[in-house]
Symmetry: C2
Subunit: 408 residues, 2 copies
């Protein structure tokens, strides 16, 4: 009898893609078939698509995260709390902050990073809706601005101005929460509501590019009604400690003073991709149909660091939670096949069920199974989607613990 060494699967990142891969794989294979190691920098998973709520302060950040150990089968998966720094493809190992780990099969499911397009000052002075740390810092920063307003002998109204750079999904969803939160903040800190300014700056010629124009119109008018001022087709030229410089086309940049600038515009792949020598576009690797990196039979790349072309429109699918989770499901199946030495891998076929963009607690816009929705109906669907992603990872117990049930 020959003793075979068990293959070792290392999954980097416990976001939507990595965690889905892990929970599916742990069900599919037996303890004796493979070693599975999940590496994540925190001991918790967070719902990236809920961060706009934690950032505005409408949902506590503990509600948007849960302990990874609660959803993994610890008899099958070893969890390592560490940060991946670089992948050494020749030696088949990953350099971590506190050590290194070798692999037979690697899943790179490390999330995206903000793309600032080289705009001066954004990294230094703008806040981000990127992870739990950045979201609660942003929430605290806004609260501090409101708390400070009445402390100054000469009141500075620009303290109460909030600029949101980007009218994409994150920007619009954050604005929805913010317009609900501002009246609460005004009450909390004795501030006149009319002193507060919310400005959304978007370089593209439209809000929510790619979304149905009728729904976009609905979203814009709802947010405008609640006090948001839109500067569309306008680029942020620079971010300073006092606000931003903007310009439309070639016009002379003008200053908008603001105590808070939020950059919610660009997402790129994880910087580990380039650092490890993968060929990539803005940190995203154009993966094969079976989700492996070209030329690497032992490396899968999924989620924000992968690029997968939608052949119908010949453009990449946007980096969404929906795609990342579907990729995780397929990745687990393909890993199981490799472990069992099957040659045939499945190809990834995204199944876009719909997209809903929240506009706050009880309003949203969306297209679900081809049907356009607005208002409470869309908002209901958004919560169903949020609960579904919990269910897919942690089943009913996780939905009961972290789900959204305030439907009406």
């Amino acid at each position: 009898m020959i003793t075979l060494r068990k293959p070792k699967v290392v999954i980097l990142g416990a976001g939507y893609g990595g965690l889905m891969t892990t929970v599916r794989l742990q069900k599919m294979i037996g303890v004796n078939e493979a070693d599975i190691v999940l590496v994540n920098k925190n001991d918790y998973h967070y719902e990236t698509t809920w961060l706009h709520e934690a950032s505005a302060g409408t949902l506590h950040h503990d509600r948007v995260r849960y302990d990874i150990r609660d959803v993994i089968d610890r008899s099958k998966v070893e969890f390592v709390e560490d940060t991946a720094l670089e992948i050494n493809r020749e030696e088949k190992k990953v350099i971590l902050e506190k050590g290194e780990i070798s692999y037979d099969y690697l899943v790179v499911a490390l999330g995206g990073e903000p793309e600032t397009f080289g705009i001066k000052g954004l990294k230094e002075y703008a806040f981000g809706i990127v992870n739990v740390n950045s979201s609660r810092q942003l929430r605290e920063h806004i609260e501090y601005q409101f708390a400070t307003y009445n402390m100054e002998e000469e009141k500075k109204d620009e303290r109460l101005a909030i600029v949101v750079g980007g009218a994409g999904f994150t920007g619009i969803e954050f604005l929805g929460e913010l317009t609900n939160r501002i009246p609460e903040l005004c009450h909390e800190y004795d501030v006149d509501f009319h002193k507060v300014k919310i400005i959304c700056v978007e370089a593209a010629p439209t809000v929510l590019p790619g979304f149905d124009p009728e729904l976009v119109q609905y979203a814009v008018s709802q947010l405008e009604r609640k006090g948001v001022e839109f500067l569309i087709g306008t680029a942020i030229k620079e971010c300073t400690p006092n606000g931003i410089l903007v310009a439309k086309g070639d016009e002379e940049p003008r200053e908008i003073k603001a105590g808070t600038v939020v950059w919610a515009a660009g997402v790129r792949g994880n910087s580990i991709i380039e650092k490890s020598g993968f060929e990539a576009m803005r940190g995203r690797v154009k993966v094969e149909k079976n989700l492996r990196a070209p030329g690497h039979d032992d490396i899968f790349i999924i989620g924000d660091s992968s690029l997968f072309i939608n052949e119908e429109i010949n453009r990449p699918y946007p980096p969404t939670a929906q795609i990342a989770m579907q990729q995780g499901e397929l990745c687990a199946r393909n890993l199981a096949a490799l472990i069992r030495e099957k040659k045939e891998l499945e190809e990834f076929k995204p199944d876009i069920k719909g997209t809903v963009c929240s506009l706050g607690e009880d309003d949203a816009i969306g297209v679900v199974y081809g049907k356009k929705l607005t208002g409470t109906k869309a908002s209901f669907m958004k919560k169903v989607i949020d609960n579904r992603s919990l269910f897919m990872i942690g089943g009913v117990p996780l939905v009961m613990k972290k789900g959204k049930f305030k439907f009406f």
Copy 2:
């Protein structure tokens, strides 16, 4: 029949002294006897002696304030929301921010202000436990420091250091709340408790000067056990954006880096006193025994801007809520006497029932009716005292609304 003009009583400030004067006077005199005007910069009264809780974040700032209109009899008292800038004693009028107001009798019950003893940088960089605005700003500042800690690539432990300047009543009570709050903050922002530093710097040779030494020893050891480091007989020489410079005696000043510096040491009288030409020591007027300003039969000065000598020890009584409220009671009686053209005014005789210094939610030290107390007994008495001051101003309804009932 001769029509007599009703005398007009103007009360400046709705703190402990001014509000007590108002609620007592409105009960004593009829609508036809006098006009009563209460002037206050906010439409709310706040419990100065509870601000250490709002500052640490252990009690919401809305719990430490209530609407002035809820406790005054609006058929008898006119409330003016405005800030007093200067008293014109010759023309018997008060210059307000938005106008002016004449008086026949004036009560100056404007609270004290922080005394920084000319220490460089304190005004610019230190936070204060002075009013609702400053307390919630301090709370938000500390939260922001904790929220920012995990956002920085190179973690700066000094962000988590909190320096409290002054080991008097306010400093010690704030430290008591802070030591209860820090574990919550660590949990909230994923910070290791051992990274947090709390340092109390006091220039005097002891903590809580004037307090029973045995009780002081108890307080110090309780706070040290919870992580406070005391630097006694040590002076703050300067406050900078990065922390403080301290020195013991003539030694070379050394730097203590801290993300938060709180100045809780000195109190002086209101600056309006000197601006209006009263003879004063650090903004406090040595009043006559009937609480009038020397040489002014029409002006009473009570609370933090008055100085009243304790003849037993030949030193002024400390500026406390207890004294201010007792002065308010007498001031109302003396005003009623003047309105009714009685010549004899009563003299102020403080009745010190006791003093309790809180060390957090369920601990305190105190002397009540001559008896020394520590721990839960003292903490219980502290809450009784807090509720009593509500009762004195607003009766049972105010106690029910704002009282402290979490006794054990």
